[in-house]
Symmetry: C2
Subunit: 402 residues, 2 copies
């Protein structure tokens, strides 16, 4: 099994779990909204933690495809090898990493179950002939890579270095950057593709840090997942590299990076994120669940990662700036970080599903004309206009952020 | 679903099915050999036709992973989401295409079932952290691409063109060729990556043929699957391109290509194949099954694709040269084509499995010390020395072959 990130930092876990809270909140809001959006229907959900691991994600996908209404039924029925039985799960939200999303997409396509990722941006996922039931609420990296090149040209930088990784996100992203920079006559001093088993003990790590240190590149672009960036940045901080970095969306606002101590000594960062909006009503919801909730999933996690309810104002201030990652955030601090993460993309995924269901089931606010019997393929085939719009272009976050 | 090749040509089907015959023959030979190789054990098998399609192959893999001894058991047991139940299938031979092998490898890895491909050469499959239970009896394209560059240098060609495809075989292969040629100061006049939905109606096809026609490249390298090459070559023959082509292993001896009429007007071909040996005793076996067999699989196919038993000597001669692909080959002709295909790699895969079993079960020629209860992981973990040897280098087939 591939190495997994050891994350014991409380703030990181708190912020990651908040993403699940967003989905729960969005579904709850749809189920409770007045006038009703889906009269007579209630949306349910299962949550699986894939740990960002392909194997675990495939298992989870297979589990979801099982016809859950009949626990004895087999995934591949004996007398019907040509198709899966119709799964109870009609749509899947996720995964985060493109590598995991592609593996899951292959499985879900077998049953035509729609998959909506809130964060997987790899260009490869745009290929409909390979991933016919995959959708997403974030733009393809085709746009982000263009943006990075525009940024470099804007600053009139002549040489850059690229660090990618050997997965769907880092490989397609850095290949595309290479094309763009070559066309723009920007010199690529070096391009390093991290192997899929890269970790803090890789012999490559000290070599890479040395290479960056020796390099005259005016900007170092790290186009890879946040777990890898965290490993590199820890060393960059130690070595006080003091360079200019360009962050792809995966780590520009990742709590795994922003929670690193003394980040400033690594240098300054220009990060790309997608246009984000506040999830309407979510801040109030987060604050309210800390004062008591009936949701068992949220209850469970609040018990394990207790927010710091009894701290003084001074401590709150301190924690909001995330200087101590071992200590959990105050609820009011948690909320201030929400705008920077993937919350809105997750919220949007739920809205897309609801709009698809409204169209398929022919719902007004009073009633739905169709009953609950429909196939996953019917839902996947529904055209929801706003998911087909050209995505809003990514924007630059000032380097002063960190 | 991706477009599928329409193959009605009898010779092609005959030769493709012969590959299954090789596996059946090899297993039968192991079960019957005296002195016994696996005393008290009989190897069984299931054969699935994946049609080279990822979806069908994933379904087949899932079917194989089911604990077949208990048809009511589910793939993912209710109370055990951390692992699949131990499958009855302990090892899988295949797939042919690298793209399909990677998809299947992801699934089989979940149960640690060893997979031995007889034909998938993509470099990506060498990554153990991604494909921990994948093995193969053919060398990685790391070697073949080096060989192609050596060939070009040998002829002192200064410009080449590369046609790859957007799958694990064609993408990694052409990327690697690009690196090698750049290092060798050979000019790449153009490189075209065919999309995954490439077919004879693609608008890209006439453009590509025109591009090749206009190009001054001294050799056109087609590093993609035989089904795509067949589409391109049909047009190249029509347009009488008369160029020098370099064939990767996928099509250098493929019956899908060699059965094309008037191949010569497309030009001359230099093809790469892997060192091949005759499968000991297989020719006699093929001839004998035409005189009556008890194997139901072989019987079924012999009924559907009747060999031409009553033709005159003259006709036999004609058919051996494959000029008429609608007419089936005479059994004696079939046998003459066997050395050129993947037979030996398939035979070798069976031998590797047998050697692994002998070691795991601690067998002498008289008895095996262990009983039949072992896990897929135990077999996968067995070190079979000859599969770890550096593969024999590919060799050049003279262009005069076609």
């Amino acid at each position: 099994a591939p190495p997994r990130l050891e994350v014991r930092d409380c703030i990181i876990i708190q912020l990651e779990i908040l993403k699940s809270f967003v989905m729960i909140y969005a579904i709850r809001e749809v189920n409770q909204r007045k006038p009703r959006v889906l009269p007579n229907f209630t949306i349910g959900y299962d949550i699986y933690d894939t740990c960002g691991d392909v194997d675990i994600a495939i298992r989870a996908a297979l589990q979801l495809l099982k016809n859950q209404s009949d626990p004895q039924s087999c995934l591949v029925p004996e007398n019907n090898t040509s198709a899966f039985s119709e799964p109870q799960t009609k749509v899947v939200i996720g995964e985060r990493y493109s590598e995991v999303s592609t593996a899951v997409a292959r499985i879900l396509a077998l049953s035509s179950v729609a998959q909506i990722s809130h964060a997987s941006t790899s260009e490869v996922l745009s290929k409909k002939y390979k991933f016919p039931s995959f959708l997403r609420t974030v733009p393809s990296d085709a746009h982000q890579t263009e943006g990075i090149v525009e940024l470099v040209k804007e600053f009139n930088w002549k040489t850059v270095a690229i660090v990618g990784s050997d997965d769907e996100y880092g490989k397609y992203g850095s290949d595309r950057l290479e094309d763009h920079f070559t066309n723009a006559n920007v010199c690529i001093e070096f391009m390093t593709i991290l192997p899929g088993d890269f970790n803090q003990n890789s012999s490559l790590l000290p070599k890479l840090v040395e290479k960056i240190n020796d390099s005259s590149a005016e900007a170092i672009i790290l186009f890879t997942k946040d777990t890898y960036v965290r490993i590199i940045m820890k060393e960059a901080i130690k070595a006080k590299l003091n360079r200019t970095w360009i962050a792809s969306d995966s780590w520009s606002t990742s709590s795994k990076i922003s929670s690193l101590k003394d980040f400033g000594s690594a240098g300054q960062v220009f990060g790309f994120i997608f246009k984000r909006k506040e999830v309407p009503g979510f801040k109030d919801y987060v604050t309210s669940v800390f004062n008591g909730t009936t949701n068992s999933f949220i209850k469970h996690h609040l018990t394990r990662y207790k927010p710091c309810l009894n701290q003084s104002e001074e401590n709150e201030e301190k924690n909001c700036s995330r200087t101590n990652t071992q200590q959990c955030l105050h609820p009011s601090c948690l909320a201030t970080h929400l705008d920077q993460d993937e919350s809105y993309s997750i919220y949007l995924a739920v809205q897309v599903i609801v709009e698809g269901l409204r169209r398929l089931l022919k719902c007004s606010n009073q009633q739905c004309e169709r009953g609950p019997r429909f196939t996953a393929l019917e839902l996947t085939s529904e055209q929801v206009p706003f998911i087909n719009e050209r995505p809003s272009f990514s924007q630059v976050v000032p380097g002063s952020k960190y």
